[in-house]
């Protein structure tokens, strides 16, 4: 049984790198990423699971880092926007003007990246279902939709 009692040093697999970090078991992943590891790509927004600005990937699936304990990430692969490394979806956002102020962008990128990987043939219904997890207050939704569409496989555009 894994036991984390009191403030401890844990190892996390983040963006393909094993990082050691101090945590309290009650720390949420968003805090550890930003304040302990300097990975500020995941943004604090509502911190209540509503806005999606803090979305990261855990084993390839989107998760809101404000609602996950850092200690839960032990043994799992975490990917933040810093780990995308010029992924296709990033280029698509630039080419399709998929952002304005940019605060929500890293969260959207993570969801879209996961969608394109897990459902490369996603139709409009699936795309909408996934993207409803995130909020853009600049309302760049149409541009974001175009960006995602541009990276999905042609079969889905039939």
């Amino acid at each position: 049984m894994l036991k984390i009692e009191g403030k401890s040093i844990i190892q996390l697999d983040i963006n393909g790198e094993i990082r050691e970090t101090p945590v309290h078991p009650s720390d949420v992943l968003l805090y550890t990423l930003r304040e302990e590891l300097g990975l500020t790509g995941a943004k604090p927004g509502c911190e209540n699971g509503d806005c999606g600005a803090c979305t990261v990937l855990v084993d390839g699936w989107p998760v809101k880092a404000c609602l996950m304990l850092s200690v839960e990430a032990i043994g799992h692969k975490i990917t933040t926007v810093e780990g995308l490394n010029n992924a296709t979806i990033q280029k698509a956002f630039v080419e399709n003007w998929g952002f304005q102020c940019g605060y929500c962008t890293s969260g959207f990128l993570m969801v879209c990246h996961s969608l394109a990987y897990n459902h490369p043939n996603a139709d409009e219904y699936v795309m909408e279902e996934w993207l409803q997890s995130n909020i853009c207050r600049c309302t760049s939704y149409e541009e974001i939709r175009k960006a995602v569409n541009s990276v999905l496989m042609p079969a889905s555009k039939g």
């Binding site: 049984m1 036991k3 009191g6 078991p25 009650s26 949420v28 699971g49 999606g52 989107p62 279902e129």
Partner: protein, 278 residues
Amino acid sequence: MIPFNFDYYRPDTLEEATRAYRELDSRSLEPVYYSGGSEIISMARVHNIYTKAVIDLKAIPECNVLEFREDRLFIGSSVTLSRISEENPYPLLSKACSRIADHTMQCRITIGGNLGGTIIYREASLPLLLSDCEVIVTSSGSLSRVPLAEVFRERLLLPRGEFIVQFVIRKEYAAVPYVHVKKTRNEKIDYPLVSVAALKKDGRIRLALSGVCPFPFRSADIEDRLNDMNDSWGIRIDKALEYLPAPILNDISGSNGYRKFVLKNTLLNTLRTLEAMH
């Protein structure tokens, strides 16, 4: 940020989990079982939940099964809503799971957590109640299998320290005609004004509701009225609504009158759809 500290335990076996609970409880650490965690974290942040120890059930293999064995479907309580939707072993349940919170949250929320949480809607329970689901429950290292309806009335009624390990559903429910409709006030992602799950089994309509009363429910009286073919659809619905188990919710998301209006229309469409299906 969670404004208090606690310790974290991630058992690998059922026995470790129940033993940890007993031990932590005996030290007055107010342990809570934890799976997806989203509700516990958000409640803890605003001081609605307090604990000094969380016991994370996600590493226990039995809590993570999602498979058919002979004529039964077994779903571990730590299986996420998104995994149920993706693998789609029981379409009505998949549909209900895909309308709880948003997709990213569905990657965290577990089916056990949805039933065991404090948020009143517990919409994943509806398809389970309709399929006469059984649950495997652990306590003190032993397992027992009981009908869900015995341990879930309005909310989960397990004794302290017990938790659901698995949900067990007969395979035949994966292939029955069904309807799932969730009506919300405005946004697609919201708590329900009315959430209707219904299926047709052996020529009879079964119905479960969330968002109507302060708890989810399935009612034999309501089903009897809805299946009374001597009456028209409208009369059947009017009679059925006399058997609601509690007053209709009346809050900022929808008045009781509006919820009743939405419910009646949704029930009418549900009856029309299911009666045309064989």
